[in-house]
């Protein structure tokens, strides 16, 4: 793993990522906010994000894969329960879930 290869990898990853953004802007040039295609794309966008979250929780890459699936699933339920139980408090929901996650990771 040479330094040069890492720099080239960063460049390639950046191009691949920016391509998604730039091509998205280009594709949207004729789309209006009151069009049907706008609402269709909105459904796809939010479905893709939920698919990403499901994948991160169940099939993570990186250091998150060092935790157990049971821990991640339990703490995902915690975030939802706390969010709805405490008047949709984002900070409380996320912090409760993450604290639970760290504690379970530490003790089990």
């Amino acid at each position: 793993m040479s330094n040069q290869f890492i720099y080239l990898s960063i460049m390639v990853a950046s191009v691949a990522t920016y391509f998604c953004r730039a091509f998205g802007m280009f594709s949207a040039r004729n789309i209006k906010t009151d069009s049907q295609i706008f609402h269709w794309i909105r459904c796809i966008s939010i479905a893709v994000i939920s698919a990403v979250i499901a994948r991160i929780v169940l099939f993570p890459v990186g250091i998150l894969s060092e935790s157990t699936s049971l821990n991640r699933i339990t703490c995902t339920l915690v975030v939802l329960v706390v969010y709805f139980a405490f008047k949709k408090n984002v900070v409380l929901a996320v912090s409760s879930s993450v604290i639970c996650f760290i504690l379970i990771n530490h003790f089990l």
């Binding site: 793993m1 330094n3 290869f5 890492i6 720099y7 080239l8 990898s9 960063i10 460049m11 390639v12 990853a13 950046s14 691949a16 990522t17 920016y18 998604c20 953004r21 730039a22 091509f23 998205g24 802007m25 949207a28 040039r29 789309i31 906010t33 706008f38 609402h39 269709w40 794309i41 909105r42 459904c43 796809i44 966008s45 939010i46 479905a47 893709v48 994000i49 939920s50 698919a51 990403v52 979250i53 499901a54 994948r55 991160i56 169940l58 890459v61 990186g62 250091i63 935790s67 703490c75 975030v79 939802l80 949709k88 984002v90 996320v94 879930s97 993450v98 996650f101 760290i102 990771n105």
Partner: protein, 233 residues
């Protein structure tokens, strides 16, 4: 005409929970880069130029697994392809013919899940001519904060235990989840989100690289057509 007030409002919006949620994961990513053998400049450039965490993790994993540049390109393209529909969705909303094209394409670099959700949470309260500048402030601050947090994670990873680092990475998906749930004001979105998550899990073993994209497109399209006659929020 640039609205500095809208830009500042966007920055103010980003400061707090959005910056903390994304920044904590970027901190953990910086620590991960340190342990993976990257130097500080490479860590800086990764977030500076890519600014899309799942793809950045995939890039490092592919390098460590001995992948080629083509492997990295395809893996990151697939992982970050979620940005394509998100950009198609947000572009008509922030469109402003007075903004130069180069600035619009620069602003596209700031499109990420956190900036997208936070912008859509408030965009109806912002006048059309100020939306781009607001988003530029919001997304731009999140990007700058992410770069700094990656560097901080790289430099100070030895001060934080490994268990805490794993916990920091977990903040971002949980924050995304809460933001997703908070956006579910229409039946078609609820349907798309639930089916998207389920399909992504089912398809993961069959199409490991494509599962997110296939699940998202299928679920979003079904949700849209099944609830097509539903009124919009």
């Amino acid at each position: 005409m640039f609205s500095s007030q809208s830009f500042k409002d966007g920055v103010k919006h980003a400061i707090g929970v959005p910056a903390l949620g994304l920044g904590s994961s970027m901190f953990a990513f910086g620590a991960f880069l340190h342990s993976a053998g990257f130097d500080i400049y490479q860590s800086f450039f990764s977030t500076f130029f890519t600014f899309a965490l799942p793809g950045q993790f995939v890039m490092v994993e592919t390098i460590l697994a001995g992948g080629t540049l083509l492997n990295i390109f395809l893996a990151v393209l697939l992982t970050n392809s979620r940005l394509y529909p998100m950009t198609v969705n947000i572009t008509p909303v922030i469109r402003n013919t007075n903004i130069p094209k180069w600035k619009q394409y620069l602003g596209a670099h700031f499109i990420a899940v956190t900036s997208w959700f936070n912008f859509f949470a408030v965009h109806k309260n912002i006048s059309q001519e100020n939306k781009f500048d607001y988003f530029f402030g919001l997304g731009g601050f999140l990007w700058a904060n992410s770069v700094l947090c990656t560097i901080a994670g790289y430099l100070f990873s030895n001060l934080v235990s490994h268990e805490i680092l794993i916990g920091l990475v977990f903040i971002n998906p949980m924050y995304f989840l809460v933001m997703t749930v908070s956006n579910l004001k229409e039946k078609k979105l609820v349907f798309s989100v639930i089916l998207g998550a389920v399909l992504s899990i089912i398809l993961n073993d069959i199409f490991p690289g494509w599962s997110v994209l296939i699940a998202g497109i299928t679920s979003g399209t079904l949700g849209y057509f099944i609830f097509r006659n539903e009124s919009y929020e």
